[in-house]
Symmetry: C2
Subunit: 246 residues, 2 copies
């Protein structure tokens, strides 16, 4: 079986933003759905691991887009596993316009947990047999790995969001992809009209649940580059991020 899984998607009208371009939330879902398809066909997808009471947990996600495709564009997303470690696996992505250029790449790091104990699973020990035919270490993913995101200090929240039912996934926590939307929404419509969001880095630190209120923090560390944080209490960080606008 090919080590690379490919999935074609169309930028549907009602998945576009105020510019009629693909939004980061839909792109994030497309990437993770492609990852799911890759894993399912190779024996380590949700259907294989749920009966063992295991669940994949997204730990790091970095997306870099030269441009955002417009309404009705046809895309091919490719994904492959770059490496497998004791507790983590690295999975990369390429995003290409069909009949056109590669317009972006993404890197992700995943852990697997036991759904009851929430403890990490020894991936290399328990899943090496499943993975070993599917690792592709040398395929190019020419974007920088995620930077080390340090805690923000001495900041005050710039906005907040009360967690609602549609934010919650099957594991009972806020869906990983929702945080991408929350991070983008820290920035105003005017700012986003003027600046293309070129690179998003997200580090998933803690889980948040229904009924909590998320507070958003940001700090401009270079021109149009923002370190961001989401907390569910003033001292408990849920997500750290870095957003780089053109």
């Amino acid at each position: 079986m090919d080590k690379i899984e490919r999935k074609q998607v169309v930028v549907e009208s009602f998945n576009t933003d105020f510019r009629r371009c693909l939004n980061y939330e839909t792109l994030g879902k497309d990437l993770l759905n492609c990852a799911e398809q890759h894993a399912n066909k190779r024996g380590f997808g949700v259907d294989d691991i749920t009966p063992k009471n295991h669940a994949w947990v997204l730990s790091r996600l970095t997306i870099e887009m030269q441009e955002m495709p417009r309404m009705f564009a046809k895309l091919e997303i490719s994904t492959w596993v770059e490496s497998l470690y004791r507790l983590f696996t690295n999975r990369n992505f390429e995003i290409k316009e069909i009949g056109g250029n590669v317009i972006g790449y993404a890197r992700s790091i995943w852990a697997m947990i036991d759904r009851d104990t929430r403890q990490p699973i020894e991936l290399e020990k328990l899943y090496f047999e499943k993975f070993h035919d599917h690792i592709l270490p040398d395929y190019p993913c020419p974007i920088q790995p995620q930077t080390r995101l340090r805690p923000l200090k001495d900041v005050t929240p710039c906005s907040e969001h009360y967690i609602v039912a549609s934010d919650i996934d099957y594991n009972g926590h806020v869906n990983s992809i929702k945080y991408i939307q929350f991070l983008c929404d820290i920035f105003s419509l005017d700012y986003q009209r003027q600046h293309h969001l070129k690179r998003v880095e997200i580090a998933y630190i803690n889980e948040s649940v229904f009924g909590e209120t998320l507070s958003f923090y940001k700090k401009e560390i270079e021109v149009n580059t923002y370190q961001v944080e989401i907390r569910n209490t003033p001292t408990n960080t849920v997500v750290r991020g870095l957003l780089c606008f053109d």
Copy 2:
């Protein structure tokens, strides 16, 4: 050309809710993307009407689902135009599991406006030629038309939402589909775990824009049947709805 347009969609993992079932927001997008595809192929889609500075505006939407399909289900959505009037057109939908049963239907009413004046376009006058080969009045859509939703009186808001950039569409207003999610999110996770949302009626009354705060109101008018409202000021109603849970 067939008067009915069909579109196949898969219930992707990252478009499911806390039960691993399709969520109403994604279903709503799937319906409207299918409508867009129907209109585009027949000469009255967004690519045809945007150059004339016209835009489709959703006025009423009613969805009734016997059940919500589970993760990885394959669906076929069908849509057709039931009728065309002076200022409105009625478009219906059928939702079927491929190789299985019809699991739901939807009814919608659309107007077309001039994007600058925001005034309605005389649909029958300007677009009858485009439409007249594509009207299918007799195809069954065995769900009740939308009821008359009267204003809620003497209610206090139960929650609110600050409008963010990702809520906004190309026309500069909150995306029609976002309101479906907002209406569902009036109800707690616990309530939604216990009750299947069988029927949703939405009447789009006024537009709301970036920076406004939406307030949500609900009133139980029969057991598990709620009249709901969204306002952007205490007296200005944006959306009225009716949600019927099992």
